[in-house]
């Protein structure tokens, strides 16, 4: 685990040697739409070290994918605008870097895979072409050499018959195989960090487990940093080292995975866990989180979770809770964080 003990979102940039592999600090992003300005990210901070898996957990609209796209520098602008914060790779600020420099970081240092591999892969090029492309354009590798690498990569992600399948098109692959091909593509330039945006959401349950195992294995073998974006607590428990929980464009809780599962420090995290079906509690009713995720055009005052929170008190309606440090690498943005933990 990390030796850096630094409060997330800390204002003082650490010296380059001790800097985390990838760090997001106090990120603000808004979407300027016809209906008004949606504040999609309102101060998101997290960091990741080499060899670490960080899970980013949240409902749709919580800002987890937008954070990832801001890190990659592939936000659609307009409507999206970064209005503050910083993204640092090995201590180097990316948000103010030249477009050329940002492009060099993409794929090479930080790579990304997407939820729906069918639409994320280009339908009119073969899988092989799409893997080789990066090697040829970015590394100047010869056609034959790139083809060889592509086959190796498909082998690596355990696609059978790789030699034949490099010549096939994405639509000729099954869902799981497509996601494997996408992973192979993201590994082509040997990235230091891989961001996986809901990599298993579009897949069958059995295939989901295989893909997660593959990701975990690759992460281990290559000592990569893996940012795993998901809304599925079950996925998180098995592979993540640390978890950040997002709600309405904010991080409401972060902790290492054991601690979080043992004693969630935020009512939202707690509610998420109570809505998971559990075999040992068979027969008891599942609780759901009442209400809907907030409208980002009109985020509630005070704590954005208060309209849905069972513990909401008067001050939750007016005061935005600051992250409370509960331990090393552990924060919770709740007025009652300490009570929650002591209650167990």
């Amino acid at each position: 685990m990390s030796t850096v003990d630094k409060k997330a979102g800390g204002a003082d940039p650490a010296p380059a040697s001790a800097a985390p592999l990838l760090e997001v600090a106090d990120l603000h992003v808004e979407f300027r739409t016809r209906d008004g300005v949606a504040k999609v990210l309102n101060g998101v901070s997290y960091h990741i070290q080499a060899g670490e898996t960080l899970a980013v957990l949240g409902e749709s609209g919580s800002g987890k994918s937008v954070t990832a796209q801001t890190v990659m520098g592939i936000l659609d602008s307009p409507p999206a605008f970064v209005t503050g914060g910083s993204v640092r790779f090995r201590g180097e600020e990316l948000l103010t870097a030249s477009p050329e420099r940002r492009r060099a970081v993409r794929g090479d240092n930080v790579a990304m895979i997407f939820q729906d591999a069918l639409s994320a892969l280009n339908p009119v090029f073969t899988v092989g072409f799409q893997i080789e492309e990066q090697l040829r354009v970015r590394r100047g590798v010869s056609r034959a050499e790139a083809r060889k690498r592509a086959v190796e990569l498909l082998d690596l992600v355990k696609i059978p018959n790789a030699k034949r399948r490099v010549r096939e098109y994405p639509h000729e692959f099954s869902g799981g195989m497509r996601q494997r091909a996408m992973i192979a593509m993201s590994l082509a330039l040997d990235p230091d960090v891989l961001i996986a945006d809901e990599p298993t959401t579009a897949l069958d349950v059995t295939v989901q487990a295989q893909i997660m195992d593959l990701l975990a294995e690759i992460q281990r073998d290559r000592h990569m940093g893996l940012v795993l974006i998901t809304h599925d607590l079950g996925v998180v428990a098995e592979v993540a080292d640390r978890i950040v929980v997002m709600y309405a464009g904010r991080i409401v809780e972060q902790a290492d995975v054991r601690t979080l599962f043992r004693e969630p420090g935020h009512p939202y995290t707690r509610a998420l866990m109570e809505s998971l079906p559990r075999l040992d509690l068979k027969g008891s009713t599942l609780t759901t989180i009442k209400g809907l995720p907030p409208n980002l055009l009109r985020i509630p005052s005070g704590c954005p979770f208060h309209p849905r929170c069972p513990m909401a008190a008067e001050r939750c309606r007016t005061d935005l809770p600051a992250p409370v440090r509960l331990g090393p690498e552990r924060t919770s943005a709740c007025h009652f964080a300490e009570e929650l933990i002591s209650r167990g």
């Binding site: 796209q69 492009r103 993409r106 280009n122 339908p123 990066q134 639509h171």
Partner: protein, 308 residues
């Protein structure tokens, strides 16, 4: 694929027969004497009329006439005109000119249309986008004969920049202005099709993936975006080539291009039935083959399309 082509070719047969029969009936079953005025001021001698009626099988029922005509066509005999010229020779004289005109128009349409479409599709809602939208609206609304007449009047007659009409050689250079006029409407349509296709694909997931791979912007647009966006445009251009061949009557008329359009227009008015039916058969055939080729081209361009 082979079976699909075969099935499509078989489907073409009734369509071709239907279209040519329609034209044949309309041309030959016209009330009135088909040979009126063929012999100058005087009425034609009886011997001539008898010979002609026999040559064109005019005394048979229409359906039999048509059958005999099609059988001759199959053996490559297009018949001859009332003045005894082989129809096939007239077609051979004019067809290359029309083909040249169609190709010139196609190139102009593709280059200008696609360029305008890409520029406007990439700058959604900018000045250039509005400019393209407004100018295509006008191109679509101004009838071709107005565009042609005005260009001829201004550039050819008043300013003398171009020769107002095309010489009998009809070289590629001379055909640029008529080609532009012929292409003007489709050009606007190609620009709009490209624009909407680009605008639709610009936000596609695979474009985002290409960006995330750290590819240069040029390559993301030039390879990933264009390759997908141009599929419908290219197939549109294909069908357009087919329609240019038969649709150049107005343009050829204005610029006096010695092509199929002018020939067919004169033949209809002078009731040269053999010429009209022969030309229409060829044009319809060219159009049908073009649509088949376009469908096959589609499968080549988009690997997701498979014909059994």
């Amino acid at each position: 694929m082979g079976r699909y082509v075969l099935r499509r070719l078989l489907q073409m047969v009734p369509v071709l027969l239907g279209t040519t029969f329609l034209i044949y009936v309309m041309v030959w079953a016209v009330p009135g004497d088909p040979f009126a005025g063929k012999c100058g001021e005087r009425a034609c001698p009886d011997a001539y009329i008898t010979e002609m009626r026999e040559r064109f099988n005019l005394d048979d029922p229409v359906i039999v006439q048509y059958g005999k005509y099609m059988l001759n066509l199959l053996s490559g005999d297009f018949g001859e005109t009332s003045s005894g010229v082989q129809v096939i020779d007239r077609i051979a004289d004019t067809f290359p000119v029309t083909l040249r005109l169609a190709l010139v128009a196609l190139v102009i349409e593709a280059v200008i249309g696609i360029t305008a479409g890409i520029v406007s599709g990439l700058r959604n809602r900018g000045f250039l986008d509005s400019l393209v939208l407004v100018s295509t609206l006008f191109l679509i609304s101004i009838p071709v004969f107005v565009t042609g007449s005005v260009i001829q009047l201004v550039f050819g007659i008043q300013w003398g920049v171009i020769p107002p009409t095309v010489s009998s050689k009809a070289t590629f250079g001379e055909l640029i202005v008529p080609g532009f006029v012929l292409a003007s409407l489709s050009m606007a349509y190609v620009a709009r099709l490209t624009r909407s296709s680009i605008a639709e694909n610009r936000r596609a997931d695979y474009v985002r993936t290409a960006l995330a791979k750290g590819l240069p912007q040029r390559r993301v647009v030039g390879v990933h975006l264009l390759r997908n966006s141009l599929i419908p445009v290219i197939t549109f251009l294909g069908t357009d080539l087919g329609s240019f061949l038969g649709g150049a009557i107005v343009t050829e008329g204005i610029f006096n291009v010695p092509g199929v359009g002018g020939l067919i227009f004169r033949s209809i008015q002078t009731k040269e039935g053999a010429l009209v039916t022969g030309l229409v058969t060829l044009l319809v055939l060219a159009y049908l083959v073009m649509t088949l080729l376009v469908d096959l081209l589609y499968a080549v361009l988009d690997p997701r399309i498979r014909y059994e």
